[in-house]
């Protein structure tokens, strides 16, 4: 079930005396917070039109002095989900994925998607079951063949875990090297100098 509103930022302290405010933007590109049109607060009653000035500063329409800006400190800004552009093929908004039910190929419940993370080596889905146990799965076609956002579920095929405990076969690190290592010549192996040495102590 897709969420209706998405948290995109939070208004911080006022900046200067002309009603500018600091805004903490949670969007992928900070300036995009102003690109989705007017934003609403947590209750949905108030609407704020932001003008992004860069450097974490923004001007809010209708806020002209510091006192008015100070009253907005701490306000969380939301955007309606349907204002976000449709994702490309094989792309999903994290907000859509989080909360989906996870099922295996036979339809058994495996928990819900609790988080979606990326540490630089592919996207990872974190599933959490009713007992609070977490399972981390790579977000690939092989492991997550079906993503049905409208239906509210993902089908997962958890990969087989192969455990390589530390120490197993640890005695053969040389196997890593494609060719035998030739050590650099050490200083004591260099041929000794022959011939007269320079006179020490100068001409005296």
């Amino acid at each position: 079930m897709p969420v209706e509103r998405i948290l995109v930022g939070e208004i911080g302290r006022p900046h200067g005396v002309r009603g500018l405010v600091r805004v903490q933007s949670f969007t992928a590109e900070p300036a995009d917070i102003a690109a989705y049109g007017p934003l609403s607060d947590e209750s949905g009653g108030m609407r704020y039109a932001l003008q992004w000035l860069g450097g974490g500063l923004a001007r809010i329409e209708g806020v002209a002095d510091r006192d008015a800006a100070a009253k907005l400190t701490g306000t969380r800004l939301y955007v309606a989900r349907d204002r976000l552009p449709p994702p490309e093929e094989e792309e999903f908004y994290l907000a859509d994925l989080i909360g989906l039910a996870a099922r295996d190929a036979e339809g058994r419940e495996m928990g819900r998607v609790a988080a979606v993370e990326d540490f630089g080596a592919g996207t990872i889905l974190t599933l959490r079951d009713e007992q609070g146990r977490e399972t981390l799965l790579p977000f690939t076609r092989a492991v997550v063949p079906v993503v049905d956002v409208a239906g509210g579920f993902v089908t997962v095929q958890p990969p087989e875990a192969v455990v390589v405990p530390p120490g197993e076969g640890d005695a053969e690190p040389e196997a890593a090297l494609p060719e035998p290592v030739r050590p650099l010549p050490r200083r004591q192996d260099a041929p000794r100098r022959t011939g007269p040495r320079g006179v020490r102590g100068g001409a005296a």
Binding site: P87, Y93, G122, E160, V163, D170, P173, A176
Partner: protein, 92 residues
């Protein structure tokens, strides 16, 4: 100081054996390892490792531009929770 080139990259030997076995099989598997210190070699490209971060095994899908880095770089040991906002994930 950086590591001397003549030593070659460091990698725990048993990872290579396991990677060879994994490449030979066509099964969908994740290789759980504790060796965060091992360098990612070209032989590992295309495999998925579960790299221990002290608490859980973080899936690491090895790609070409990760070669030369260490496994531990892709398995953070500290928790960071951000907001999902308008961020997108691409299915690999």
């Amino acid at each position: 100081m950086s590591r001397s080139v003549w030593k070659g990259p460091f990698v725990d030997g048993y990872l290579l054996n396991k990677a060879d076995a994994a490449r030979a099989s066509t099964r969908n598997e994740i290789i759980k390892i504790w060796s965060r210190r091992s360098t990612i070699l070209p032989q590992f490209v295309g495999l998925t490792f579960g790299v221990y971060n002290g608490k859980k095994f973080i899936p690491v899908q090895v790609s070409e531009n990760m070669v030369g880095h260490k496994f531990g770089e892709f398995s953070p040991t500290r928790t960071f929770t951000g907001h999902s906002s308008d961020k997108k994930a691409k299915r690999g």
